[in-house]
Symmetry: D2
Subunit: 210 residues, 4 copies
């Protein structure tokens, strides 16, 4: 199905961080096809930095007017694709981001709500990923680092402007190449994660079109 | 230090559920002293049921007027005491509660906020538990079962009535006796959990008195 | 490199067991090429049964005269390819095998040695699998079920006849399709396991030819 | 029951290693009573060093003539008391011992058997520990560091002299104090480990007296 003019989904991945040389989230995004379910796939590489990451994606939303936004991030240690349900109003970093910032116990926006629920259909996405043969789960915790801030910030931006955009977040395991020297860490093959992500996006598009 | 008349902390534990014959949360609460840091310790056993558990604790808050509320619950599989930071507006039960109810993807209160942040000093509590020699951590996810509903409901009750009560939640591992036949499950000795809980409550009282 | 006439490696995989509908070990073996490193690849499906599995492989060794034997088995729960170092003289089954046998605390051969060390180059194989980009580790424990009995039995057969055959064992994770409904179980994509196995066999052949 | 003159059990623990300031194995041994099941309890602190640890315990066996030897060691990361079934003829150290030695892929004794099975009643010990309310399991892998070498060496010493001594090994988790800053590591309270060890020794004595 060719993309309908003007219809797009925005899919974002992060730059490597925490000493890694690659970030599975961006490897996945790069490998996605140019269109999915009649929508153009707009791919955006996002810096792993508090503040800048949110501004980058917010600007892209304003410029592109996507129907859906799916941000993807690495969650080293998890063993399956995790569709996040919620983003909380907390920055609390265990390590510094790529710009050296390490906020501790701060609100993302002082007057913001305690949390946003993601507006993509998380259960339908998990079901679709599983149906594609890839291990998936719902997660109720996107952490308190840049990933959580990004999706909180994106949902806050959408709410503030009352945009008709649905947005969500997916955490993914390490790539196999990242764990060769990490004795107990789980990993997932890139091909599996790409298939799972395509299935998740298709499920979100299908739900959107109902 | 004897309890000041009228000053109390409300500490709650749950009834056993999920096929278990004991719930570590209530075993801990039972073993607490009658007073802590100049406050009477009011102990409440709560049914592991959606709805009823919230009403039970809300009523106790109204009757007792505690300075602090600490609800405790079992998180089988965790290996350390987990002070929860947030409660989300979601009921999504993987198993039925003790009354046979199993809500799936429902809001706790349709018009309620997406989440509440706990109002106890979570980092000070984790530091105090650790200082007492007991493994502890902050958790950003209280699940989507009765535990999460209870603390969401309690914070919603407090917010609705604008009470000057701080409230929080702590998840605890299985007792050792619960994992004798569970090959890979972590556990913690009751004595350690009681010491950790006392330290957590003392830290919350100290912060409250500042 | 075409196979030299008469030169072969014997690679075995097991039938599904424990309620599974597929066994990753046999899926891997099926997917191997017909020749590797100048050796014909002889593929053998082995029943997951105490006794019969050993007799089946012992007979194949006698008939084929392989240079190397690599037996592969499923180790559900492990997250990487595990090259086993040792097989112990113990049958101690937590579940019944596919013929309903469940030996408890029995010797495999009453007068046999307490253990055999595998005679394939385990470290070189782990290094080769890792170099192929697939997570791998040495394991010092092949369990006490059919897998351990098979490699113990094979090494005992080879020792008893003083054959010039090297033999070893590799445990592999679940396939992704096996863990869709197992919340916390690790898995690995078939393609990765096939690549890893090819690298392991090549490393063993290379070492053999020194 | 007072100790019968001449009857003793030798129980050993290790010095701290790997950057730790305490070793749970010696803390357990120190806390054992002076007699158990009519046997004097001889306590020995063993250096965490290849070679010296074995010589130290072998000499104690020769001097004391114990009925039973139970060596205990730390297995950081395990969550329950692990009664070991087997010791293998391999030194393969991931870190240096306390004397700076780090053997890689060496035999403990070149002409020694591939393994020894421990001669204490492992299943009865696990059952007794569990009955005492402490999580326990059989382990088929004592590793390839100093712990494994010690029990291999002890069993080899006993076999070489044909002594009527039964010997075994038990790995224990970290103490709680050791994991306060290790986010995901399991631990066990000292009191629980002492109770479990007493139960294990009693079970071994009882079996011995049959």
């Amino acid at each position: 199905m060719p993309a309908t003019p003007g219809k797009c989904v925005l899919v974002t991945g992060f730059e490597p961080f925490g000493g890694e040389r690659v970030n599975p989230s961006w490897e996945i995004v790069r490998a996605l096809p140019a269109t999915l379910g009649g929508h153009r796939v707009e791919k955006l590489l996002v810096p792993t930095e508090f503040g800048r990451s949110v501004r980058r994606v917010a600007r892209a939303i304003d410029e592109l007017g996507p129907a859906l936004v799916l941000c993807i991030g690495e969650a080293g240690g998890r063993s399956r694709m995790s569709v996040e349900r919620v983003a909380i109003n907390v920055n609390d970093a265990r390590i510094a981001d790529n710009a050296g910032k390490q906020p501790v116990d701060e609100a993302i926006r002082a007057a913001g709500p305690a949390a946003y629920l993601c507006t993509l259909p998380v259960k339908a996405m998990v079901a679709a990923i599983s149906k594609a043969g890839v291990p998936a789960e719902i997660s109720n915790c996107a952490g308190t680092f840049v990933c959580n801030q990004l999706i909180y910030g994106v949902l806050d931006h959408i709410a503030g402007k009352a945009l008709a955009v649905r947005a969500g977040f997916m955490h993914v395991p390490y790539l196999e190449a990242q764990v060769l020297d990490k004795p107990h860490a789980a990993a997932m093959a890139l091909a599996s994660m790409v298939e799972g992500t395509k299935a998740a996006i298709m499920a979100a598009i299908k739900e959107r079109m109902k």
